[in-house]
C-alpha cells in the first residue's frame, strides 16, 4: 500500500539536482505527484509529492547517496495527499514597490480578513543593493467576493502604503 510523502530538498544550486534526485526515486519504485521547484537566492529548492510503498525511514535511506553527493538538506513528511484536488483561482493580485520589511505580512493580513484563500504566491526582490524593489504575485479564491478584496487593498494603500502599486484582476477561466 503506497503512501504519499512530501519531500523538501534545499541546497546550493548546481547542475543536475532534479535529474539525480528524481532518478534515485524512480529507481526505487517511487512515483512523483505535484511539485514546485525553483531557484531562490542561489539555492535550489524542491517541494515534491512522492508516492512510495515503504516507510519514511526507507525513503531517507534511498536518497542518502544523492543527498550527500549534492550536499542537500532533506526533510520528509508523511502526508494526507491526494491528486486531482486542484481548485481554480478566481483572482490574481500583483504588488510591487520599494522593498521594505512588512509588505507581505500587511498585504496578506488584510486579504485574509477579506476572505482570500491563497493558492499560489511567488515573490522576488529585484533592482540592486541600493535600490531593491519587491514584487509579488498571488493567485487565490475570493471566499467573500472580489469587491471586498479590492476594498481592503484600497484601504491599506490609502492608510499605510501610498507608494505601493497593487493590481487586482479576476481570473475568468473559460472551460470548453
Amino acid at each position: 500500500m503506497s503512501q504519499w510523502y512530501m519531500l523538501t530538498l534545499v541546497g546550493k544550486d548546481q547542475l543536475g539536482i532534479v535529474a539525480k534526485v528524481t532518478t534515485a526515486l524512480y529507481k526505487s519504485g517511487c512515483n512523483l505527484g505535484e511539485a514546485s521547484m525553483l531557484r531562490l537566492g542561489g539555492n535550489f529548492s524542491i517541494m515534491l509529492m512522492v508516492s512510495y510503498d515503504n516507510d519514511k525511514k526507507q525513503l531517507y535511506v534511498l536518497l542518502e547517496d544523492v543527498v550527500r553527493e549534492l550536499n542537500l538538506h532533506l526533510h520528509i513528511d508523511a502526508i494526507e495527499g491526494h491528486l486531482h484536488q486542484h481548485r481554480d483561482p478566481e483572482v490574481r493580485i500583483t504588488v510591487h514597490g520599494a522593498d521594505r520589511a512588512g509588505i507581505v505580512a500587511q498585504v496578506t493580513s488584510v486579504l485574509t480578513e477579506a476572505g482570500l484563500n491563497i493558492l499560489d504566491l511567488e515573490s522576488d526582490v529585484g533592482g540592486n543593493t541600493d535600490n531593491p524593489f519587491y514584487i509579488m504575485h498571488i493567485e487565490g479564491i475570493a471566499t467573500q467576493g472580489i469587491a471586498l478584496l479590492s476594498h481592503a487593498l484600497q484601504q491599506l494603500l490609502a492608510m499605510q502604503h501610498p507608494d505601493l502599486k497593487v493590481q487586482l484582476e479576476p481570473i475568468e477561466t473559460l472551460v470548453m
Binding site: L157, P170, L174, V175, M176
Partner: protein, 166 residues
C-alpha cells in the same frame, strides 16, 4: 436525449486532424443535437468541438452568452470554420472538458474574423472578440489535433495585464 462520451487526454485520438464536412444531412442534424446536449452537460461548457466526442469532422458549437457583459453572437453552429483575419493578443485562463482538473494560461488573438457554414451549409461571417474569439480559437485547435496544453505559457511571471481593478 443522449450524451456523447468525451475523449480525455492523453487519449491519442485527440491528436487527429478532422476532415471537412461535406454532407449537411439528417445524420448531421441529429449529431448536432447530441453534441449540444453534451456541451451543455459539462462544467462551464461554452463550446465543444466534434473531435472531443470522437467524431473527426470540422464541427464546432459555441455559446458564450452565459458570460456577463461581453459581446457575442449567441448560440452558434460553426461548420468548416476558418479564421481569415486576426488582431491583437491577450492572455487568459482556459480549461477543457478533454483535460480535466487542469487550467492554464494561453495567449490568443483578441479580435478575429471568422468564416463558417451553419448546419444547413450556408456560409456566414463573424467578427469576434474577447471570450468568444478565445473560445473559437480553442475549438479550432481541437479540429487540428491541438489542445490548450500544447500552447501554455507560464502561470508565473505573467506580464500581460488585463483589466485592472485597484
Amino acid at each position: 436525449m443522449s450524451l456523447l462520451e468525451i475523449l480525455t487526454y492523453p487519449d491519442p485520438r485527440l491528436k487527429t486532424i478532422s476532415a471537412p464536412v461535406t454532407e449537411f444531412d439528417a445524420k448531421l442534424q441529429a449529431f448536432l443535437i447530441d453534441l449540444e446536449n453534451t456541451m451543455r452537460a459539462g462544467p462551464g461548457g461554452v463550446g465543444i468541438a466534434a473531435p472531443q466526442v470522437g467524431c473527426f469532422q470540422r464541427i464546432v458549437l459555441l455559446d458564450v452568452s452565459s458570460k456577463p457583459k461581453i459581446k457575442h453572437h449567441g448560440n452558434l453552429v460553426l461548420i468548416n470554420p476558418e479564421i481569415t483575419q486576426w488582431e491583437g493578443f491577450e492572455i487568459g485562463r482556459e480549461g477543457c472538458m478533454s483535460v480535466p482538473d487542469y487550467t492554464g494560461n494561453v495567449i490568443r488573438a483578441q479580435y478575429l474574423h471568422l468564416m463558417a457554414q451553419d448546419q444547413h451549409g450556408v456560409q456566414h461571417e463573424y467578427d469576434m472578440e474577447g471570450f468568444e474569439a478565445r473560445a473559437i480559437q480553442h475549438e479550432l485547435d481541437h479540429l487540428d489535433g491541438l489542445l490548450f496544453i500544447d500552447r501554455l505559457v507560464s502561470r508565473r511571471h505573467d506580464l500581460f495585464r488585463r483589466k485592472v481593478y485597484v
